[in-house]
Each structure stands twice: as C-alpha cells, then as structure tokens.
Amino acid sequence: MVHVSATPVLALRGVSKRFGAVQALTDVELEVHAGEVVALVGDNGAGKSTLVKTIAGVHPIDEGVIEWDGDAVQINRPHDAQSLGIATVYQDLALCDNIDVVGNLFLGRELKKWGVLDEVEMERRAQELLRTLSIRIPSVRIPIASLSGGQRQTVAIARSMLGEPKLVILDEPTAALGVEQTAQVLDLVERLRERGHAVILISHNMADVKAVADKVAVLRLGQNNGVFEVKTTSQEEIISAITGATDNAVTRRAARTTSTNGEASQ
C-alpha cells in the first residue's frame, strides 16, 4: 500500500449545487489524499459529473467549502482549478485526430525556441513522459487517428500529466474500451497513484473500481451514500448503495452518525 498523507489534497465540505429547480448536489463530502485513487460511483443522474465539474471549475459551487491542501479555496473557473494543480480528462477525449501524438500532448502549450516550435524538445519530453508512464504506442509521430481507443485514452491521460498536477480526475476512462485496452488504462491509473498523484476515477464498471480504487465514494440523488474501503467491502454492498437498496431510514441514520463520527475523529 502506498503511503497516504494526513491532510487530504482535496476535500469537499458540505458542497451543494443547484441548477434552477434542480438540487444537483446536497451537502456532498469528499476527501482525496495524495497517492490515493478514489472511485466516484453512482447511477445515472446521481451527480457524479456535476461534482466533477464543480471541482474542475466548470460550475462554481453554491454552498460549502473546497479545501486544497487544507486551505479553503475558491474554484470559479477552469483556469483556477488548473492553476491549483487539478487536471481533468473528460470522457470525450478532446484530442485532434489529424495531429500526431507529440502535437496533441503539447496542444495549446507548445514549446518554442525563438518563436518557432521546438519539435525536438517536445518529442524528447513526450518520449520521456510516455516512458515514465510506461505507455506503449507505435510511434509518437503518428496521428491520433491511427491509435486504438485505449491508446488514445492513455495519450489523453498522459497529456493531463504534463502540468504535473496533484489531482487527476478521470471521467469514465474505460467506458468504450475492450478488455486489453481497459487493462492498459487501469495500469496507467495505478502508475499515477505510485507517482503520488491523487486520482478521482468516475466509473460505472465495478470490476474496474475493485481493481484500482482504494476508496469508493457513492453518490445517490446528489447526496453521499457512503464511502467504502475497497478491500473490505463486497461488490454487492457497493451496488446496493448505488441503487439505493440499502436506502432506508435505518441505514440513512447509520450513515449520518458514522459520517459525523468520522469527521469528529479527524
């Protein structure tokens, strides 16, 4: 097990978000430590994407506090999140098919020398980055269109690593991938953890979650529905938390008391 720091890299305290008449998030709590993979799971419409977007600065929060390294911060724009060190890899990969791997990795932050693209340095750094992340692709000089879905996903994740972020958010990274490709991406997630990054992984796939996550945070109808240690929790327990099979007065009370206890003890 990788060492987990005492102060979480990111902590959400009682975050709420409302869109018109819809209460998308209610009093959501979430903690992510360095070197820890937290899976964020929940049914469709549970608020996973909204939560991620509040962290990424796409939607500012209405209520609550976002803590970064223990300090309360304001994240109002995507730029704020990026400058804190939060990198988000969205589901649609946002890569340009016609540009090669190096070009995509450095898109929007090209290295220049006397105003001219420094292709040599970019290619060297790209190779170095891909090597440290053990990403295999045929060549860094072929267009993204030539790569498989898994390879594209790894390139997208590698691209988020260029800014040396402390927290990486992966939105459904394995959604459209085959078995082998999913394994590649999960390997990469593990390497991110090994390098000490905090990772939030959104997934629908319980197998993936069990494979790489340390903790599972379940959202249901915009509220916390439990945070589980992956090692000590069965898949059924997580699924019942997602579907709400455990959602009755008794468990709600239990969850409430445990979560307040947990906070008090920290």
Partner: protein
C-alpha cells in the same frame, strides 16, 4: 525469467528492457510497428505501406503532372519549351496565390467562395488609388492587400462570432464585392495600369542575369540541406529517432535536380520571373507558418477538432477570423498579379472560372476538403496542373469548352481519389 530476444510479444520486450532498468520496465515504443528498413529497400517498403494505407499525399498529383507533360509534349514539342514553361510559371501565380489562401480555409474544414470577387475588388481598389487618385503605386498596393485582409476578416467575423455558415457568408461576399468592384470601376469599367509601374512589373519583370536563377536554386537547396542536416543532428544528440544521412542526401539531390532544371529553363528564355520568385517566397513563408509555428498548429487543431482546440485553450474565434483574413489577403495579392498580367483592372476581374480554379487547385494539390490535412505547396502543384492543361490545350488550339470539360474531369478525379484514400485510410485506421 529468460531474455528472449526473438519473441515479438510485448512480454518479450519487457524482459529485454528489464535487464537495463527495473523501474522503466516497458518500452515506450510498441515493438510490433513502424520499423523501417534503411536505404532503398526501406523506401520501397514505406511506399508500399503508404499505398496500402491510402496515404498518398501529393503522389497522385505529381504522377498526374508527369503524365500531362508526357502527353502534351508528345502532341506538341513546344510544350516543354523554355518559353512555355516560363509563361506557365508567370500565369499560374495569380490563381496560385488565391489558392494558398484557400488552403488555409480548407484546413479549417470551411470554404471561402468570395476569393474571386475579393481579388477583383482589391485590384480595382489598387487601380483607382494609383491611376485615378494618383497615389504612389506601392501605397495603393499595400492598401489593396490590407483591404483584402480586412474584407476576409469581416467574413470571418460573421462566421466565427455570429455563427453564420462560412459557405453562406462568403457567397454573400462573392456578390457584394463583385458589386463593389463594378461600382468603383465606374462608367468605363476598365482602368489601364502603367505597365512599367510596380503592379505592371509584377508579371513582366525577369531577372535577366543568369546568376539570379542559379543563385536562388543554390540557396534553396543549401538551406534545405542545412536545416534537415542540423535538425537531424539535434535529434540524434537528444536520442530521438532521426533520418539517416542517406535519406537527407537523397531528398536534397532530388530537390537540387528540380531546382536547377527549372533555373536552367528560365535562363534559356528571359530569366527568373519576378512573379515566380514572389510566389515561392510566399509558399515557403506560409509553409513555415503552418508547420513550424504555434499559430499553424492551432489552424490544424481546429481542422481536427474544434472542441479539443477550445479545451486546449486555443482562441477559436480569433484563429477563425485570422484564417479568413489570410484568405482575403491572398485573394488580394492574387488579384494584383492577375491585373498585372492584363495591365488593367476591368469588370471581368475575379469572375468566370477563377474561383473554381483556385479551389480546384488546392484540392487537386492534395488538400483535404474535410479539414485538418494539407500544405500550402498543394496550391503550387494544383495550379501547375490546371495552368499546364490550359496551355497544353491552347497549343493544340483546342477550344474553350473542351478546356472546361477537361479541367472538370481532373477535378473530379482528384476528389474521387481524395474520397477513396479517405476510405482506405479509415480501414487502415488512419482517417
């Protein structure tokens, strides 16, 4: 764990790497792919692979050009005469310049239908200012080009900011600037330019000194060799894949043969044409802009995925407007060359088949209509094809109607080749 170097599986690669460094256990390069043999066999293998994968690039148009030369030369031995080649080189510049602007717009996956009218309007502006208003010609030329760029930027504004389709915006531009040109040309409809003035000289000046053409060829070849050689040295120094020296030499020799052959041809007639020199300078400049600067990278990115570009922090609106401004600017430059050729600005400027030829040239040269793929050199190759056919048919005294039909057939062939290669590329996973 055995070190099995013959194994082609990723595991095999792992174990080999393991002996070197335990931390970086896996190679970044997939061992299965893209290993190229060196030397001639390598070229042949690469060629076959590209053919199969549908990565033809400019190959069809180069083959087409050679075919055109062979056919017309066998029909009429004057086709490859020094005079004819010189004439083609000068005539192509007007349409070619407009086509360079079109390449930029096509890279975005958009279209600019106004370039013909804008070129006519700009030449009219230059003529009115220089002849009727008595401005110095350099100022008139400068203002005409700036006007072209501003007109293009205006189209870009409607497209990028207000979200109107570029097709419709530039179609409106086509009509408006045609009307504008007719209005400022006034009653007469024709303004004759001083054929010894700056605009006149654009297509009539030749560097009669034989040294000029050879010097240019030598400089181009030397610069090409030095940049390739030094670039490869730098790549070797930091340990990333580089071209072998034999490869660089081969390309340099090929370029040298073409460059010196052209120079010798020009020198047999009047010498290096100024128009061709300016065209080459613009081509090299725009190629550099597109492939070596972050601005060019942004243009390609927009042609690939607008959303990805936006997320990468690219100012999509600004790039779009600037591309249309470039298109308008090049239309103006092209218009000046066309006006220079007939030594006047008249009502038929920028009309007829000019627009279609400019777009066809970009596409024939290998620029994709679907965006994100192309180089400004495509404009040169495409316009060479179109103008060569025109001159070849003229030598044979074949009438105008047939010329249109043959140009149409060439264009259709090119688009079909583009579509088929795209299909092949898709099946080969390289679309």
């Amino acid at each position: 764990m055995s070190v099995d170097k013959t194994s082609a599986t990723p595991q095999g690669a792992n174990t080999v790497e393991n002996t070197e460094a335990a931390a970086a256990a896996v190679t970044a390069v997939d061992p299965r792919l893209l290993v190229r043999e060196q030397g001639l066999a390598g070229y042949f293998g690469e060629f076959k692979r590209k053919l199969k994968a549908g990565e033809l690039g400019s190959m069809p148009v180069v083959i087409g050009l050679i075919a055109i030369c062979v056919i017309f030369q066998s029909l009429n031995s004057n086709f490859l005469s020094a005079q004819n080649i010189s004439d083609i080189s000068v005539t192509m510049v007007g349409t070619g310049m407009i086509s360079v602007g079109i390449v930029f717009v096509l890279l975005l996956g958009e279209i600019d239908l106004s370039v013909g009218s804008v070129s006519g309007a700009s030449s009219a502006i230059a003529a009115v200012l220089a002849v009727n208003q008595g401005w110095p010609e350099w100022a008139a030329v400068l203002l005409a080009v700036v006007a072209g760029a501003v007109i293009g930027a205006l189209h870009g504004f409607f497209f990028a900011v207000l979200g109107a389709p570029a097709f419709a915006v530039t179609l409106a531009g086509l009509l408006f600037w045609l009307g504008f040109m007719l209005k400022i040309l006034g009653e007469n409809g024709t303004i004759n330019l001083d054929s010894d003035g700056l605009i006149g000289k654009l297509t009539t000046y030749f560097f009669s000194d034989v040294a000029a053409a050879y010097l240019l060829a030598a400089v181009v070849v030397a610069v090409f060799f030095l940049t390739s050689f030094l670039g490869n040295r730098r790549r070797e120094a930091v340990g990333i894949p580089s071209r072998p020296l034999s490869d660089t030499l081969m390309r340099t020799v090929l370029l040298a043969v073409v460059a010196f052959a052209a120079a010798a041809m020009y020198n047999q007639y009047k010498g290096l044409p100024l128009a061709t020199l300016i065209f080459l300078v613009f081509l090299i400049g725009t190629d550099f802009l597109l492939r070596r600067t972050s601005y060019g990278r942004k243009v390609f990115a927009l042609g690939g995925s607008v959303e990805a570009s936006r997320r990468a922090g690219i100012n999509v609106t600004a790039v779009r407007i600037s591309v249309f401004a470039i298109s308008g600017g090049f239309a103006a430059v092209g218009g000046l060359f066309l006006a220079s050729k007939i030594a006047s600005a008249n009502q038929s400027a920028g009309t007829g088949d000019l627009l279609m030829n400019a777009i066809a040239a970009a596409v024939i040269g290998g620029t994709s209509l679907f965006g994100g793929r192309g180089r400004t050199w495509n404009a040169l190759l495409g316009v060479l094809v179109i103008v060569s056919i025109q001159y070849g048919l003229q030598l044979e005294s074949i009438a105008e109607p047939v010329k249109y039909m043959i140009t149409a057939a060439v264009l259709l062939t090119t688009v079909v080749i583009d579509s088929i290669t795209r299909k092949t590329q898709k099946t080969a996973g390289r679309a």
